[in-house]
Structures are given as C-alpha cells and as structure tokens.
Symmetry: C2
Subunit: 109 residues, 2 copies
DNA sequence: TTTAGATACATCGTAAATCTATGTATATAG
DNA sequence: CTATATACATAGATTTACGATGTATCTAAA
C-alpha cells in the first residue's frame, strides 16, 4: 500500500534517528534499511533524507564522519550523540501517545 | 503531552470524517468530541478545522445543512456521504498499515 | 450593567515537511 | 557501451496545520 506523504510528516526524522541509533549508518543505507524494516512500506526520497540528516546534525542529535568503503567509494557516516538518544526516547514516547489517541478516535463507534 | 503539529499532518481529516460518520455534527462540536475522545490529546484549532470541513465537502465526502439550535443559534451540521464512508474505510486501513510500519521501525533494536 | 468567557463560523498569511526534479560522480551488470 | 545501482546534494513546488484576526450571540459573574 502506498502511504500518502502527508501521513509521514513528523515521523520521518524519528525513524531515521532510530536507525542511526542502532549502528552508525550512511544515507543510502538508511533508505534501504527503512524500506526493508518497514515491510517495504517506506520508500524515502533523497530530497527528503539528506535535508533531514543535515538538520539533525545541525541540532546536535547526530554527527558525521567520512569513510572510504572497500569499493573505494566515499561515504558519509552518521552516529547518534548522547543528546540524540535523549531526544529519540522523548520522540518515541510522543509517537506512542499520538498513535494511541488516533487509534482511540478511529476505533470509536 | 503536547503533540507536535507535524505528527498530526495527514491524520486530522480522517479523524474529523470518523466523528461525522458516527452522527451528524457541527464544527464546534467536532473539536469538543475530538478533544474528549482522544483523552485531551487533540485540541483542534478553528483555523485547521473549518478549511478541512470545506475541503471535505468540496470533495463530496460530507454535505452540510443549517439548523437553529434550541438556544436560537445557527449551526452548520455536516453528514457523511456514501462516498465519504468508502473513503473513510480506505483511510483507516492506510493508517493501520502506516502506524504498524512506524511501530516496527521504532521497536527494532 | 458591563464585561469575560464560551459558543459558532470564517479567512488570511506564515511555517514546516515532504516531494519532484535536477545535478554530479562512480561502480557494476548485462 | 549502456542501464542500473550506489552516493551525496540542493532548488522549487505542494500540502497541511497553525496563529492571528474578524464577526456575532449567549450566559454568568462582577
């Protein structure tokens, strides 16, 4: 099922942060993991991904370093900061409250 | 907990449609029900509500009629159309797929 | 009596998030 | 050699919600 982009708004950054929190990751890898781990539901555009990564770094939630892969390609890896972990936990709690409230409304009859 | 407005994007119209599907409702009433049924989580602004109602009506998902209340106040009631019911069912299913996918990402470790 | 707050509808301008499109560049498979 | 995947980046357009503002009535308190 294709998900309207509007539904995604607000939750994309949390998911990116969560993926980086598991292990350092580079941009392209993040889109692949997000696609696989969501059961092929989320196909992240590059025009969405990179600006979010830049914002997260500017806000001090992640930091980056460059590394050359075995294939000789330059990759920009991101790792989560302590501040990022605190922020992630808060955002996950917020998501839980939000999604439970929506469920409550949609379940009502 | 205050929910960032960004999280709301895309799900507000579904919830409004769901409330109207239960019984005909007018604008102010919808904000009250949404607030109560969500456990005081969703406080809908008028600048959000009325444009959405107008769009839903323009799209043929709801229709309106005016009625005077016992207090002598004019109210604009909305009722869901058959097309609105079909659309609501599809959007609820979409929400389920979406929220399960986000849960899957955030649960991963 | 006047004033504040709740009820009731509406629109305008702004901000935020994502998308599409575009650009650059390299590696790999057919 | 050509298409696809990998890899990063930005600009402009679209969508959605918000805050501010406007109009108007009813009710309760000061």
């Amino acid at each position: 099922m294709r998900i309207r982009k509007e539904l995604l708004k607000g939750s994309t950054a949390i998911m990116i942060l969560k993926i980086i929190s598991k292990e350092d990751a580079y941009g392209y890898q993040i889109t692949q993991e997000l696609y696989a781990d969501s059961g092929e539901t989320f196909k992240l555009n590059e025009g969405t991904l990179y600006p979010i990564l830049h914002t997260l770094e500017k806000d001090g939630l992640i930091k980056s370093y460059s590394k050359i892969s075995e294939q000789g390609r330059l990759r920009k890896y991101y790792s989560i900061t302590p501040l990022g972990r605190v922020n992630l936990a808060a955002q996950i709690e917020e998501w839980r409250v939000f999604s439970r409230a929506v469920d409550a409304i949609l379940k009502e009859n």
